[in-house]
């Protein structure tokens, strides 16, 4: 039997606010345990939650970016369960009427676009962390993360392959970082995916029983976890067993998923509207203000790079890998003096390679867009040969500096002065009458001898195009 894989993803995006969802504590990663937990985060008696406007603004911005409906009135709800790292005994989330409803994301899968419809995106607070390895035989609680704002983005179950799921996750990652609502740091947990996975016989319309796989904190783990889960479910079904609806945890060390809790043991979270808060009201003025803060979105920019700059879809895609890449490119070609294709080649070639070698993100590139622009300008006007440009780039990367000063100081400019080149060639012809005679007698290989001598004489700086043209004319006599 042919089996079809069905995937829906739920992604917890940590919003890049300075303070928490309902308290004034800082959200910075990596502080001493419990240093960033105030009375509200500790759930002392009598404290109350006040929603973070910036987090709401980010949710609105996301909704606008994916063409969703922004709920003018939405509600925070309490999700009740006991856990030591959940100080209030409930998590404030949204249940009915989330702030973002619907929307979609277009995702390129192996060169073809697919549309992934979104169900909703809702605001909620993160829980703290139980620390099991710090004290022997005891569990520590770190509430620094408790109350951190999250946007949980839920797709419809429309993805049909591992590649689609991964491509969606990568695209979503790009979008949330692009619009500036998330730092995208997956190691620090700023972008965490859970996958709902089910299988069904190909052609069947009813969905199979799904399992939720948690803890997919890298794209590679996601790929492997979903693939494994697919194989596990198919194997089960082919043995005539049924799939139990359950939550499974991916263990990257053993490369397998294992059951965490089954549906039968599922908690009744007793959701109800949080009575400590009024409905979250978002008016048109606020929505328009957030719309104005949206940058040009990746899809639109990709189109513009093709239409306006004449780049290929492939190059445009590479340059829109992140907002930082796109910004770098736009700064590079900003004043219109640099050919877009040249700029794109340098970014995807030398710059990308250097960044990768050094392990830097482009926003920390030692060679700023303005420096690279100056370099490209000197290629354009013939000052630099390709080889020299690479050499100069290396210098800029290592030591920095002003492009023209480095050219000057290191003598990196090409000799393109026709008078200088002609005088040099005349000298060579006068010095080597035998070779001139051989060339004129039809031994064209001797041409290379003159090029070599001229380059040597110029210290490698002779403009090769000009040199060739002049040599040919002079040698032919």
């Amino acid at each position: 039997m042919k089996w079809e894989l069905v995937i829906g993803l739920e992604t917890h995006v940590q919003l890049a606010t300075r303070s928490k969802m309902f308290s004034g504590s800082a959200t910075a990663f990596g502080a001493e345990p419990n240093a960033q937990a105030d009375a509200v985060d500790l759930a002392l008696p009598g404290v109350l939650p006040v929603p973070n406007r910036q987090a709401v603004a980010y949710a609105v911005r996301f909704g606008l970016a994916v063409g969703a409906t922004i709920a003018r009135r939405s509600w925070f709800a309490r999700k009740n369960y006991f856990y030591p790292d959940l100080p209030k005994g409930y998590q404030i989330s949204q249940y009915e009427n989330p702030v973002v409803q619907g929307g979609q994301l277009t995702v390129m899968v192996e060169g073809h676009p697919i549309v992934v419809p979104l169900t909703r995106a809702h605001l909620e607070e993160d829980a703290g962390k139980s620390v099991h390895d710090a004290f022997h035989g005891r569990t520590g609680i770190d509430l620094n993360r408790a109350g951190t704002p999250l946007l949980e983005i839920v797709t419809e179950p429309t993805m049909r392959s591992v590649a689609e799921a991964v491509a969606y996750a990568r695209t979503l990652h790009r979008w949330v970082t692009w619009i500036g609502i998330c730092d995208g740091n997956m190691q620090e947990g700023s972008f965490r995916c859970d996958a709902n996975v089910s299988v069904r016989p190909l052609g069947q319309t009813a969905l199979g029983t799904r399992c939720e796989i948690k803890n997919l904190n890298s794209f590679r783990f996601m790929e492997r976890a979903i693939q494994h889960e697919f194989e596990r479910q198919v194997e089960c079904l082919e043995q005539g067993l049924t799939i139990a609806q359950e939550t499974r945890l991916y263990d990257p060390d053993r490369d397998e998923t294992r059951a965490m809790r089954s549906k039968e043991n599922a908690q009744d979270y007793r959701y109800f509207p949080d009575p400590d808060q009024l409905p979250l009201c978002i008016d048109d003025a606020w929505i328009e203000a957030e719309r104005a803060r949206l940058p040009e979105l990746p899809d639109a920019l990709m189109q513009r790079l093709q239409d306006h700059y004449g780049l290929s879809a492939y190059d445009a895609g590479l340059l829109c890998a992140s907002r930082a890449w796109a910004d770098y490119f736009l700064r590079l070609v900003g004043d219109g003096t640099i050919e877009a294709k040249l700029a794109a080649n340098w970014m995807t070639g030398d710059l990308a390679a250097a960044l990768k070698r050094a392990g830097y993100e482009i926003e920390h590139s030692p060679v700023a867009a303005e420096q690279l622009a100056a370099l490209l300008r000197r290629i354009g006007d013939g000052t630099l040969s390709g080889k020299m440009a690479k050499e100069l780039f290396e210098v800029l990367w290592q030591e920095g500096g002003d492009v023209d000063r480095v050219i000057e100081a290191r003598g990196l400019s090409q000799v393109s002065d026709a008078g200088v080149l002609e005088a040099m060639i005349d000298g060579l012809i006068a010095e080597h009458p035998e070779q001139v005679a051989e060339y004129r007698g039809g031994k064209e290989k001797v041409f290379g001898f003159f090029v070599g001598r001229a380059m040597k004489a110029s210290g490698g700086r002779a403009n090769p195009v000009q040199l060739n043209a002049l040599l040919q004319r002079k040698l032919k006599g």
Binding site: A43, P45, G46, L48, N80, P84, R270, F272
Partner: protein, 489 residues
């Protein structure tokens, strides 16, 4: 001059003119509290801490930048977190909890230069109508120490009635200010929901809880409310409004005032003496130029069942934080994490609190939510609309605060529903978010006080206080003080 029987205005004047100091005034009250320990009004007293504050108030008075409450000792219900004070909420669960921060209400009184006199006894987590559920023992009604003071703010009410404090804070979720005020023969005000910040006020039922004040008279309440009311950004339900002078309508003429009398508040089940006192109070109002208007609060019989779905639902979630992990009571012996939480909560909470947590958990459970919680929310809206419609025909609503006067200890212990019915006339006001008061309106045959409830439209506290004050200029019920053992008044 009798420091324990003077109005706030007189006390403030005495402090300002130097007739006595705040240290002397505070000491006088602390001594009186000491002499009346058997009433059980206070959970925590801290003479040194109080006198320290009094000394600072005296400095401020000497510097001449005193406000109307500077140097005045105020008793606070033990539901308000006060930095450095044991703050128990009447529960074993918080019997070891020293608050590390001040509630907004405490902050406001501190800023005004008032002195924290002590923390008053209360029903556990404000759940009760007799103060019998406190982990720290009962409060006795100063008018008859064999009887309850009402609840949940029983300690504050009895303290004011016995003149152990000139002013006390309290909270009201279903009648917890008005009912004990009525049973103890004092004045009590529950403001409009959102008027007083809930920050630092330990939550029972968040959508109903509201802080308020207790004092002998409406004029004193006006001063107390002015100190504690006001916007607080830390409470998302706090209402931002321009500052208001709550004393502005004190002594106002009542010519033409329309008093709405809900049919449902004058039916059967009311003690004859209570009915008689209310009728006499209405006659006083008529003599002052007010007139009666019959109104209909047709859903008022639903208010008790609606309340006992919604309040426990919210409480079941609000009290989840007491798990023994970070603070509060933790069981000495346990097997594992779940056992620790279970035992800590089983030991830390009393029977009434457990009953409401269980009820609340049940009504929020899958399969019951729609039938109970959602349905109760719908009826709550109808009850609100009832009131709003009624206020199209009247300026204030009046009736008895409670159907009976103070009852003996244990009288309703066996039947929670009988206990719940003590609040039958007060709960609707909380469900509708309205301001309400109880003022003394006479005594029954046994010499127990009767309370008149006055209800006003949202944010009409000034009107409410004016209407109450005008009556108190005609009557002296609010000046009557119980005779106490060991300390004649």
């Amino acid at each position: 001059m009798d420091l324990n029987r003077s109005s706030l205005k007189v006390l403030a004047e005495g402090l300002r003119t130097g007739a006595f100091s705040s240290v002397e005034l505070t000491s006088a009250y602390l001594d009186r509290i000491e002499a009346q320990r058997d009433l059980g009004c206070f959970i925590t007293l801290d003479r040194e801490r109080s006198l320290d504050q009094a000394r600072r108030a005296d400095q401020r008075l000497a510097q001449g930048n005193a406000g109307p409450l500077t140097g005045i000792p105020v008793a606070h219900k033990d539901i308000f977190c006060a930095s450095g004070w044991l703050t128990t909420c009447g529960s074993r669960m918080l019997s070891n909890f020293v608050a590390p921060y001040d509630a907004h209400v405490i902050e406001r009184f501190n800023q005004a230069g008032a002195v924290i006199l002590g923390k008053t006894n209360m029903d556990e987590f404000a759940m009760g109508s007799s103060n019998e559920t406190s982990f720290f023992g009962p409060v006795r009604n100063p008018w008859d120490t064999a009887r309850v003071p009402g609840g949940s703010s029983g300690g504050s009410a009895a303290a004011v009635a016995a003149r152990l404090a000139p002013l006390a804070t309290a909270t009201d979720t279903g009648g917890s200010i008005r009912q004990p005020a009525a049973l103890c023969g004092i004045s009590g005000l529950k403001p409009t929901y959102g008027r007083v910040s809930r920050y630092g006020m330990i939550a029972y039922a968040s959508s109903l809880d509201q802080g308020g004040v207790m004092a002998p008279s409406a004029a004193d309440l006006a001063l107390g409310l002015t100190a504690m009311a006001g916007f607080d950004a830390r409470d998302a339900t706090s209402v931002q409004r321009p500052d208001e002078d709550f004393a502005a309508q004190l002594g106002r003429p009542l010519e033409g005032l329309r008093i709405g009398l809900p049919r449902q508040y004058f039916g059967s089940g009311i003690e004859a003496d209570v009915a008689r006192c209310i009728e006499e109070a209405l006659k006083v109002y008529e003599s002052l130029g007010a007139r009666r208007v019959d109104i209909d609060l047709s859903y008022s019989d639903q208010s008790v069942p609606v309340y006992y779905v919604l309040a426990p639902a919210e409480a079941s979630s609000n009290l989840s934080r007491y798990d023994g992990v970070r603070y509060g009571w933790r069981a000495a012996q346990y097997d594992d994490l779940e056992d620790m939480v279970t035992r800590s909560r089983s030991e830390g909470f009393g029977a009434e609190v457990k009953r409401r947590i269980l009820t609340g958990t049940y009504v929020l459970s899958r399969g019951y939510y729609d039938a109970y919680y959602l349905q109760a929310q719908r009826v709550r809206r109808l009850i609100q609309q009832d009131f709003l419609r009624a206020f199209e025909h009247c300026d204030v609503i009046m009736g008895p605060t409670a159907p009976t006067t103070a009852f003996p200890f244990g009288a309703k212990g066996g039947d929670p529903v009988q206990m719940y019915l003590s609040d039958i006339f007060t709960i609707g006001v909380n469900l509708a978010g309205l301001p309400g008061m109880s003022i003394p309106a006479g005594f029954d045959g046994a010499g127990l006080p009767v309370g008149l409830q006055i209800i006003a439209p949202h944010f009409a506290e000034a009107l409410l206080l004016g209407v109450a004050d005008r009556y108190q200029r005609e009557t002296d019920w609010h000046d009557r003080v119980p005779a106490l053992n060991g300390g004649q008044v």
